[in-house]
Amino acid sequence: MNVKATDFLIFDEESGTYIENPEQAVRDDVEKHHWLNVLKTVLKDWRLYLMLVPMIVVFLLWRYFPMYELLGSFKLTEDAKAVADQYYSGFSYFRTLLTGVGNLELSAQFWRAFRNTFLLSFYGLVFGFPVPIIIALFFNEIRSNIARSIYQVLTYLPKFMSTVVMTSLVLMLVKQGSDTSGMQPGVISQLLESLGLISTETAYAGMLNNPTFFRAIYQISGIWESAGYDSIVFFAAVIAISPTSYEAAQIDGAGKMAQMRYVVLPAILSTIVIMLITRIGSLLNIGYEKVLLLYNPNTYVTADVVSTFAQRNGIAGSLKGLASAAEMMNNIIGMLLVIGANTIAKKASDTSLY
């Protein structure tokens, strides 16, 4: 609103001087009582606002208050004292992490973790993203409802296992062998060994003690865990295609590949685009639990991600400020990616995710 001088004062011709604008007095009055009006509205609907209170309090206390504690990454002391009592170190932790001033070793570890974070999700995108789409197309081929339900129940199942159960299974299936107790390596290691894909020494040393295999094991177990479940969204798009579209294509002489190209793909493209953009948006938000449960010092080279770096140094270790600084940088870039992805998704398809 543009405020002009005449809003407040007008020239009174009778007395020949400027006097207060009476209209403005009313406006002021409304303005002054604005909050009262708000309060009235809130009071009228007080039950509705009361319902919001517990949720807001929980989010404030345990989601937003930690963000205030992020100030710790600008502060110098390394104990868990109240954030407000500490000395500011400015950006020195950030400088150490990024450029290695003061501690080259930590900086190298940070960059390694950052690279691993990106690579783990990037490979997940490349190898993991197409699988649910293909599974959804396959589900569509099964005409019997009972058979399809059985397949769906089975393939969704791994998603409901805990990370601890899943990683325990993985660890057991590729576990190391031992000569003294006669323990043989895990059953998957033995299978790969008999196929000639890995050597006996590798199988005995344990595949998860070997940085070469970490990424592959991470991705394959990830696909096993969530490909079936992730296909739900795509299957909903495929099943929505009207059977007449297929019939029309068949009459025109389209084979299966042509039907895929001209009937199915256009129908599910928008879903694919949205899911792809979401995946790209969350490239840096990698679940730390799974890495934490699968990795060990032998595999840090390929397995250590930013959040596990922060866990080791900040929770198990005592470099709290430095560890928060590392995660903060990761999460800010991650947030920009998510916001960017959501904006693009909105533009591309008139739908937004939130």
Binding site: W62, M67, I142, Y151, T155, F160, V164, Q184, I274, E289
Partner: protein
């Protein structure tokens, strides 16, 4: 008239069945392997000769797990966390989502942003850890010594689930609500009698999400619950795994046991997933619907 399948269609159908069957077997196999290994004898597990079916069957691993008080403690703790955690989260989320779904709510955009922002940006592990530690001290100051309540109350609210609920509540036609209000229903009655019955599948889905993530919760429970008697099952399972992952442990093991140490882990895995396997088929029909319904907002 039924049309004959063209060759390419037939081939694709065959490939679909083949690959899906393989994938479904792959999803199921680890569980069968787990059960078989839990009840197989020492030598078979040691030599990794179990492929599918159990060999030299024993139930001593299960018996010893069941005779362990710490196991039952952890099982009860997980039931406790899941039960109260799900109720707590559902209560907050349903009330919050209901209020947010109302167009007449003042600062509605602001509240929505308040939620969504937590999905974009999280403070990270270390500040959260310090925050939970401070909460723990505050709880103890109030006389709540049991860390389980800390886990129930402070952890696990997920903005995504609230948004799923909100989107679903927004789809309830406002005429029905108006009719109920004309009939003299209060806000609570509208929520209880109109909204909840009309959103059954999304409620089941969200409750399932909350319940599963509670049942499966590990990291923060391990960090925050200091008393061994209060630890949930997942933490107990992981601790046993770490204890038994040392292959040298098994050198003198055979003297006193008829089963391999691995069988204990497998038996624990079985115990930990059985409740999910029992509940899952009943809820499955709701939740595929729920996932599709609330996800994308027009």
């Amino acid at each position: 008239m039924k049309r004959k399948l063209e060759v390419s269609e037939l081939i694709f159908k065959l490939i679909s069945y083949l690959l899906l069957t393989m994938f479904a077997i792959g999803c199921l196999y680890p569980f069968i392997y787990t059960i078989s290994s839990a009840i197989s004898g020492y030598e078979q597990v040691r030599d990794s000769t179990i492929i599918l079916l159990p060999k030299n069957i024993q139930f001593d691993a299960f018996r010893d797990v069941f005779n362990d008080n710490v196991f039952w403690n952890s099982y009860t703790n997980t039931l406790f966390l899941t039960f109260y955690g799900t109720i707590w989260e559902m209560m907050l989320s349903v009330f919050g989502a209901y209020a947010l779904s109302k167009k007449r709510l003042l600062f509605r955009k602001g509240f929505n942003f308040f939620l969504v922002f937590t999905m974009w940006f999280s403070a990270g592990m270390v500040p959260q850890y310090l925050n939970y530690l401070a909460t723990k001290r505050a709880f103890q100051g109030m006389g709540i010594m049991d860390d389980k309540w800390l886990v129930v109350i402070a952890m696990g609210m997920q903005a995504m689930n609230i948004i799923l609920l909100r989107n679903s509540f927004e789809n309830v036609p406002s005429e029905i609500e108006e009719a109920a209000i004309v009939d003299g229903a209060t806000e609570m009655q509208v929520l209880w009698r109109v909204y909840l019955p009309m959103s059954k599948s999304i409620l089941a889905t969200v409750a399932l999400f909350f319940g599963i993530s509670r049942w499966n919760g590990y990291f923060w429970a391990r960090q925050m619950i200091s008393n061994t008697n209060e630890q949930p099952l997942q933490v107990y399972l992981r601790l046993r795994l770490e204890e038994y992952s040392d292959p040298e442990l098994t050198t003198n093991w055979q003297m006193s046991h008829s089963y391999a140490p691995d069988s204990v882990i497998y038996a624990l895995i079985v115990c930990s997933i059985i409740p999910i396997l029992v509940i899952y088929p009943f809820i499955q029909k709701y939740f595929a619907k729920g996932v599709n319904m609330g996800g994308v907002k027009e």
